[in-house]
Every structure is written in C-alpha cells, then in structure tokens.
C-alpha cells in the first residue's frame, strides 16, 4: 500500500526504473515513463515505452513479477515498489499528455544535475504500454545503511 504522502513523490519528475524477470529468473531493467497511483495506493499504472519494453512485456505476461524504483536525481531519495502486473495493455491516447508532462518534469529534474533537456527529451516515450500493478510492498531505496528496508520499518523518517 502506497501512503498518500508518497503518491505525489512517485508521480513527480523522478526516475522510474522497472525490473522484470523471465521464467529462468534472468532479470531485465528498463526505464518507465512515469506512473499513476490508483485505488488509494493499492495499485500503480506504470507506462513502459513500446520501443524498449518488448522483453519486459514478455516477462510480465509470463509471471507478472515487477519491481519499480523511484529516485530523485538531486538527492537520491529513492523508494522501490514490488508487486504483480494484473493487466497489460496499450496506453490510451488520453494518457499521452500524462507521459509527456512526466518527461518534461524529468527533464527539469535532470537539468538541476547538469543533464541538458535536449538529451532527456530524446528518450523514446510514446507510444507506451500501460501496466497495472498490484502493490505488494514498498521499500526504502535511498543509498545508505537502511536501503532495502520496508517503508513501515523506517516510519517517521522520510525515505
């Protein structure tokens, strides 16, 4: 379950990395183009660019296991959401604006650390697949001694 105060962070211009794995437990990483927090934090929809997500989609159709890491460039504040894909489909035209806004926000955030917007805006971002994920766990991922701890264990401290 994603706490309400975390939803805004996940939907902002943070890096969104996705891991899936195949039937032989061979993992794969790719960059997602933002998420939408749904059902009061019980679910996420993750947008995966069609251009780079062929393997991830095959993995998700095989077993549904997914990890999504959110990380803010300026200070490495990071969380990771673990879950299962419950639905995989093409993102609708009405979701294109959300994906484009996300990329703009990412370009702003990366601009702060010196990555020029012209580079960020070249990332392939549309069309996308929309992957609906049932959230099973949320973990602190900011580098440090408690990276990997469940969010509830470090309650009271921002992740």
């Amino acid at each position: 379950m994603i706490p309400a105060q975390l939803a805004g962070f996940l939907e902002s211009g943070v890096s969104v990395l996705v891991a899936t794995r195949d039937a032989r437990l061979s993992p794969d990483a790719l960059r997602a183009m933002g998420v939408r927090v749904e059902r009061g934090g019980a679910e996420l929809t993750v947008f995966l660019p069609a251009a780079t997500s062929r393997e991830a989609l095959a993995n998700l159709r095989d077993n549904g296991r997914i990890a999504v890491c959110f990380s803010r460039a300026a200070d490495h504040r990071s969380v990771q959401v673990k879950g299962r894909a419950v639905e995989v489909g093409e993102a609708g035209a009405d979701e294109r604006e959300r994906v484009e806004r996300y990329l703009d926000a990412l370009a702003d955030a990366w601009g702060v650390i010196g990555i020029p917007a012209r580079a960020t805006l070249r990332l392939a971002h549309w069309p996308c697949h929309a992957v609906r994920v049932r959230v099973e766990g949320v973990f602190v991922q900011t580098p440090g001694p408690d990276a990997g701890a469940p969010l509830v264990d470090v309650a009271g401290r921002a992740p």
Partner: protein, 454 residues
C-alpha cells in the same frame, strides 16, 4: 557483440548505471549503481558499500542485467552479467575503495562509508538498447566535439613538456614551466603540485589557473582526492564530482537518520569550488612520495584513460626532475632527498658515547665535543631523512650542538672533523659544494649506535 572496451566513456558513471537482479523466490529488484569498473575484456566489478538486496539476490541467483549510459550520446548498453566472486583486498579493491574514500572524506564519513567488497561479474553479453532515443533534432544538437588530437601532436606536445622539465634550472621553474606547457598544449587549465609538508599535510608549492591563492593551500593526507592519492600512492580520477558528492550526501543523511551519531562536517573541496572532474597522481621516486600532481576541470568528461596514461608519463618526469632539483641545505626542505645510491662495499659502525660526548668508529676513538656532535647530527639526518647536503647556517642555529653565539669557529671545527675522517674513516667525507654548504659523501654502509660508556 560490442566489446566491453568500446564502452570506456560509460564507466565513470556520469549518467548513473542501473542494475536489475532477481532473488531465488522470483522477486526482481532494480536500483542505481554507484560504480561500474572495467576489469578485463570479460569482466566488470560493481561496488558494494552496504550488504543490500542486490548483493543478497546475486548470491542466490547470479544473473544480473546492467544498463550503462554513454555520457555524451545518452545511448544505453545492456550488460548481461553473472556474479563470480567478491574481492575484499588487492589492486581492484584498492582502486574502487579509493574512489569511495575520496567521497567519504569530503562528506565527513571517513571510516563510516567505505567499500565492503568489489563484486566481480562475468559479462555474458553486451548490446546496445535499441529504440531508447528518438532521432536527434539538428536544431537542438550542438556540433560534434572535435576529434582528439592525433598521436603525432601528442608526442610533440609531450616532447615540449619534457624539454621544459629537463632544462629547468630550479624547482619553481620546473613546476611552473611544466604546468604552463600542459595548459597551453593540452588544455589542462587547472593544476597544482603539492609536496609533503611534514606531519599529515601536503602543501601546494606550484599552481596554474588558480591565481596566487592556491599557493600554500594545504591538504590533509587521507582526505579528499589529493590526500587519498598521497596516502594510497595511486592515481585517481573522479568524473562527475557533483554526482559522487550527491551520492555521498544521500548516504550521510541516511546514516544520520538511522542514528549513526554525529558525523564530522563536510570538508570543502580544494581548488575549484565547482569542479566536476578531478585527476590526481602521486609523484614517486622509487617508493618515495615527493608530491602529488592534481588537475581539475569544470567539464565532467575532461579526463579519460588517455589522460591517465599521458599524465602518468608527465608525472614521472616531474618526479624525477623534482628529485634532481631537490632543495638542499636549507632546513629539511619541503621533501626529503634520496638516500645515496652507490652499493656500499663495507660497513662502518659509529658509536656516540653520550656521557663522554665522543664518537668512536669501529671501536676506535674518532672525535669529541662540538665536531663530534656535528658528525652525529649529519649521520643521523642522513639516515632518517636521506639528506646529503647541509648548510653551515643550520648548524649554527641548532642549539643541541652547543656552538657559542659569537666566534663559534665553526669553519675550523669542520676542518678538524674533515681531517679526522680522512685519517680514520676515509669512506665518509664532508665536501664543500659552495660557500656555506657542504655535502656528506658515503662510500660505505653506516651503522649508528648510541651508548653510555662504562
């Protein structure tokens, strides 16, 4: 398959790499990596600072997938890896640990944030991530950077730098000439040379690009890139200093939040406050550190493998030049002189009897009082610091020798000492080099004993 060597610019992590792993229970995990180190054409090493989920996963299931990014083109490369083993010592570990030590020392986390292991992975495949980037927009793209200068230009430039070093009449001219030429011919715009200043400090005795302010700048051994290079005696290059510091600060905040106690304050960077790339190398003569040569740039991509190799050559030349022109005579000098090279054929044993204030050589009386104390001081400094040249002035200023303040007759005492050595121990000589200075020449090994007689 793309060769690993072709990914050279991706390794410094200017755009951070990412790793996906999977536990035995089938749960995938993905996170950023702080360091990916090229090991050989078939292997890379990843840094492990904390025993985290990634590490636990690869111990259960060795397969991993890493995305590396080219810092200029933003192309991504997917490395399929298999965890091989973890190293906790040796050259690979030292190289990776040094980089973390630099960041830890800057962010007040020395000893708290350190490399736990260098985790070595076999590279199963390397492929470019197709479709990651849209075609470049010519209106937004800048012109391609110029190609690096050809080998002929580099060799000729190196020749000029080498000439300046070889022909310099003194140490300031050597260092200024070399640093100027490195800027004019190769664009190394910010450079300094620091030497051991006694204790745990280094002091800058030459700089280029910083104005006068950098001269006399100090670096603590073991702190920051310069101090770490001096301590470990290894070349180090840090690209994306800003990114490394952000990472270090993130760890620091987590440590403090986790009740890690009060950490010491962050140490300001020496030199450019907004440096994005640093390269420092030890100046070594045999196993002796004569200084550190340090470069900085605001361009995070400024230094690469070529610079390491090239500046390594220049550094060796500077070190040998500094050794040749070491300040002699005046005080202890900013760095110690070498020990005498010739292979000694015999050993002479000098013994100083404290309560009788006299020196014996191989059991035979040599000299006493002030000339004896002078000889003892010279032999002692030679043994401890490798000094071979001394001044009359420093003898006069040494209260332990007990010379009278006026009419000290130092010259005649030295003449006495010289003659006595000539008679009884011709392998040890005091040779005047110029006015007020003399050299200690040894044609034998020397043992020094200090005793009470009785």
């Amino acid at each position: 398959m793309i060769r690993l060597e072709e990914l050279g610019p991706c390794f410094p992590g200017i755009v951070p790499a990412q790793i996906a792993t999977c536990g035995r229970d089938g749960e995938p995990n993905v996170t950023y990596l702080s360091q990916v180190q090229y090991v050989d054409p078939r292997r890379v090493a990843l840094s492990c600072q904390f025993f985290n989920k990634t590490r636990r996963n690869v111990e259960e299931n060795p397969l991993a997938s890493v995305l590396l990014y080219h810092p200029l083109t933003f192309e991504a490369y997917r490395l399929r890896l298999r965890f091989e083993h973890a190293e906790t010592e040796g050259p690979l570990f030292d190289t990776m640990a040094l980089r973390i030590q630099v960041i830890a020392s800057h962010t007040g986390m020395t000893g708290v944030f350190a490399l736990r292991s260098a985790d070595v992975y076999e590279v199963l495949s390397v492929e470019r991530v197709e479709g990651l980037l849209l075609p470049a927009d010519p209106a937004l793209e800048e012109a391609a950077p110029p190609l690096p200068a050809g080998p002929l230009t580099e060799i000729r430039g190196l020749q000029v730098v080498s000439d300046r070093i070889a022909r310099a009449p003194d140490l300031p001219a050597l260092l200024a000439g070399a640093l100027e030429a490195l800027d004019a011919l190769f664009g190394f715009s910010h450079a300094m040379v620091l030497v051991p200043a006694g204790g745990a400090e280094l002091v800058a005795i030459a700089s280029h690009g910083y104005g006068e302010a950098a001269l006399g700048a100090r670096a603590r051994i073991g702190a920051g890139i310069i101090g770490c290079v001096a301590q470990r005696r290894r070349m180090l290059r840090v690209a994306g200093v800003g990114a490394e510091l952000r990472y270090g600060r993130a760890v620091r905040e987590r440590l403090e939040a986790a009740g890690g106690g009060t950490l010491p304050p962050e140490v300001p960077l020496p030199g450019l406050p907004d440096a994005q790339a640093q390269l420092a190398l030890p100046l070594l003569v045999r196993d002796r550190l004569v200084g550190v040569l340090a470069f900085e740039s605001r361009d995070p991509l400024c230094f690469d493998d070529w610079d390491e190799a090239f500046l390594g050559i220049v550094g060796n030349q500077i070190a040998m030049g500094m050794d040749r022109l070491r300040p002699a005579g005046e005080g202890t000098g900013p760095f110690p002189a070498p020990r005498l090279a010739p292979a000694p054929e015999r050993r002479r044993v000098f013994c100083y009897y404290r309560n009788d204030d006299c020196v014996f050589v191989d059991g035979e009386y040599l000299i006493r009082n002030v000339p004896g104390r002078i000889l003892w001081k010279l032999l002692g400094q030679h043994r401890r610091e490798g000094r071979t040249e001394f001044t009359n002035r420093e003898l006069r200023l040494d209260p332990a020798l007990g010379l009278p303040a006026v009419k000290d007759n130092l010259e005649s005492r030295l003449i006495l000492l010289r003659r006595r050595l000539q008679e009884k121990c011709p392998e040890v000589r005091l040779v005047p080099v110029r006015r007020g200075r003399f050299a200690l020449e040894l044609d034998c090994a020397v043992s020094l004993l200090e005793k009470e007689c009785g």
